[in-house]
């Protein structure tokens, strides 16, 4: 199953058309069609689902077996000039360890052919932007994992690219750094860049963007706005946990409603009634009204299935 929602308007900055990639006998990416424009897109999927391979294809590191990849309208594998517009933060925690973070970023910025002074200026700006202006002169091998991640992001954005690919960018970052980097990634998207963030930490992706791509077994399972995806998946059952008095009586009344599929009384739970529905919006309107008719009140109404985590679990569990 693939659920796709087109983004309204916007230029296409990254495109995959019918792209497949095999590693020996393993099909890492399978017939993916994807177009991404400005803004942040979360690339989600379990380990081994093909996220990093897709990013490598977009970055021109790999050549698709079938289909084609376009970065800013050009083939990134065969037309390296277009890589001027790409910033890549790779997944591996690897650097020229004997260098300072500042020198590392400056060297890679100079590899864009920039004069020394301009590269220096851009490096300083990028290091400042990732919060590394004070620690940039430490050697890479002496840096914490969080600092290394920040430095890796700095080298990806220093040359001001319109497309930024971030493969697990928050790995190893402490909570404060995570919050900072999430804000940074959001701001990169707001500047009109096409930012693709691969991650399996779902709440962090949710904090960055509502535009997500789900991949499983190398296949595109869903793409679009989280909220619209949820609506699109009309057949998907949602659980609602209700904190009400007399849960058995309420359950019997709710079972008569057309949008309620099941109602289960849970013993020893803070929310003693679990209702299953496929229409979360109607349930949200009608259930409090029905409980009120019975003379009760809904003290708690939560849906453990309405967040990104559950949507992710639901999508990846379906074949």
């Amino acid at each position: 199953m693939t659920v796709a929602l087109d983004k309204a308007g916007g230029e296409t900055m990254l495109e995959a058309h019918g792209v497949s990639k095999m590693y020996g006998q393993v099909r890492a990416v399978n017939e993916i069609d994807l177009r991404l424009g400005p803004g942040v897109t979360g690339l989600l999927g379990p380990n081994g689902s093909g996220k990093s391979t897709l990013l490598k294809l977009f970055a021109g590191q790999l050549l698709p077996d079938t289909g084609h990849v376009r970065l800013l309208g050009a083939d990134p594998f065969h037309e390296p000039r277009v890589l001027r517009g790409l910033g890549l933060c790779p997944e591996q925690d690897k650097f020229y360890e004997d260098m300072s973070g500042h020198d590392f970023v400056r060297a890679l910025t100079r590899l864009h052919g920039l004069p020394k002074s301009e590269a220096e200026q851009k490096t300083y700006a990028a290091m400042k932007r990732v919060g590394m202006e004070r620690f940039g002169f430490k050697k890479m091998k002496e840096m914490s994992r969080g600092m290394r991640q920040r430095t890796k992001i700095a080298q990806a954005i220093a040359h001001d690219p319109p497309v930024v690919l971030l493969d697990e960018p928050l790995t190893g970052a402490d909570p404060v750094a995570r919050a900072d980097l999430i804000a940074l990634i959001r701001s990169l998207g707001e500047e009109g860049r096409c930012v693709v963030v691969s991650s399996h930490v779902l709440h962090e992706v949710e904090a960055m963007t509502h535009d997500v791509v789900f991949i499983r077994y190398g296949r595109l399972r869903a793409h679009g706005d989280i909220l619209r995806l949820r609506t699109k998946l009309a057949d998907r059952p949602y659980r609602i946990l209700l904190d009400v008095d007399e849960p058995r009586r309420v359950a019997a009344r709710l079972m008569a409603l057309p949008f309620v599929q099941a109602a289960k009384v849970l013993d020893d739970e803070p929310s003693p009634l679990e209702v299953t529905t496929t229409d979360l919006d109607t349930a949200g309107r009608e259930i409090p009204r029905v409980v009120a008719e019975l003379g009760g009140v809904v003290r708690g109404f939560t849906s453990p299935d309405a967040d990104l985590e559950s949507l992710y679990r639901y999508l990846i569990s379906r074949r």
């Binding site: 900055m13 590693y23 890492a28 400005p38 990093s52 391979t53 490598k56 970055a59 021109g60 590191q61 790999l62 050549l63 800013l72 390296p80 000039r81 277009v82 890589l83 001027r84 517009g85 790409l86 890549l88 790779p90 997944e91 591996q92 690897k94 650097f95 020229y96 004997d98 060297a107 890679l108 100079r110 590899l111 864009h112 052919g113 920039l114 004069p115 851009k122 700006a125 990028a126 932007r129 080298q155 954005i157 220093a158 040359h159 001001d160 690219p161 319109p162 701001s187 500047e191 009109g192 860049r193």
Partner: protein
């Protein structure tokens, strides 16, 4: 990094970016190579060995010239050249260079040059220094042979490093059996080795201690030998660069 500039404006490539980027990347890795412990060790070993041979063992300049040009140059070129791309693959840092607009061909060329320069830095002054013990012309030939040998062997072993899984072992076997063995054979087969052309540039013919048929061995002319070494350098660089452009380098999966 200017966060205000629109995306389209950021795609302009600065004029003259390619030579600037290649020169920078060559210098960058050359300096990194010089800072490496392995280079310092090789350099120290090389100098100590030369001093011991010259002043402790009283080895003559001709034999020392042979040792430098025919022995040290190929060995050092194997050590540095074979790692040109391989060490970046093993260190998983290749991704950074290969996702830049300079392109894989020129990144590869810069990397090979950066690994060939330390060999030249050690061998050329040593060749010149030893050669001056014989005469100015010999010194120039030793220096020239060390330089051309360093780049030819370096380019060749860089290509080998791309293709073969254990380039150091392959290279050693190549040097001993092909270069050292076939290189002393008179005629066509001998000319197929780099060693015979390095001999031609340096003016160091096969001696009777190296092969019983040394009397039959004829050195190629300086011009022919220099041309052959330059052609091998260009050919190996070209094949290696094309391979680097066409090949996928999966540093992580």
């Amino acid at each position: 990094m200017t966060s205000e500039s629109p995306p389209a404006a950021r795609l302009d490539v600065p004029p003259g970016y390619l030579p600037r980027a290649v020169a920078f990347w060559t210098g960058f890795h050359f300096k990194r190579n010089l800072r490496k412990r392995s280079f310092k060790l090789w350099a120290a070993l090389f100098v100590v060995l030369l001093l011991l041979m010259r002043y402790a063992a009283n080895v003559g300049p001709d034999a020392m010239g042979r040792m430098i040009v025919l022995g040290a140059v190929p060995l050092l070129a194997l050590f540095f050249g074979a790692g040109s791309l391989r060490e970046e693959i093993e260190d998983q840092t290749l991704t950074y260079a290969f996702t830049r607009p300079v392109g894989r061909i020129w990144t590869y060329v810069a990397r090979v040059l950066a690994n060939g320069l330390p060999v030249a830095l050690l061998a050329v002054p040593a060749g010149l220094f030893i050669g001056f013990g014989i005469g100015e012309a010999t010194a120039m030939r030793y220096g020239f042979a060390a330089l051309l040998g360093a780049v030819a062997y370096g380019s060749f072993f860089a290509l080998v490093g791309q293709i073969v899984k254990w380039p150091a072992w392959f290279g050693l076997a190549w040097l001993i059996f092909w270069e050292g063995g076939v290189g002393t054979v008179p005629g066509f087969f001998g000319r197929l080795t780099l060693m015979s052309h390095v001999r031609g540039v340096a003016g160091l013919p096969v001696e009777s201690s190296e092969a019983p048929w040394s009397g039959l061995w004829e050195a190629p002319s300086l011009f022919t030998a220099a041309l052959a070494l330059s052609a091998v350098t260009a050919g190996a660089l070209w094949i290696g660069a094309i391979r680097a452009r066409k090949r996928e380098f999966v540093v992580t999966r």
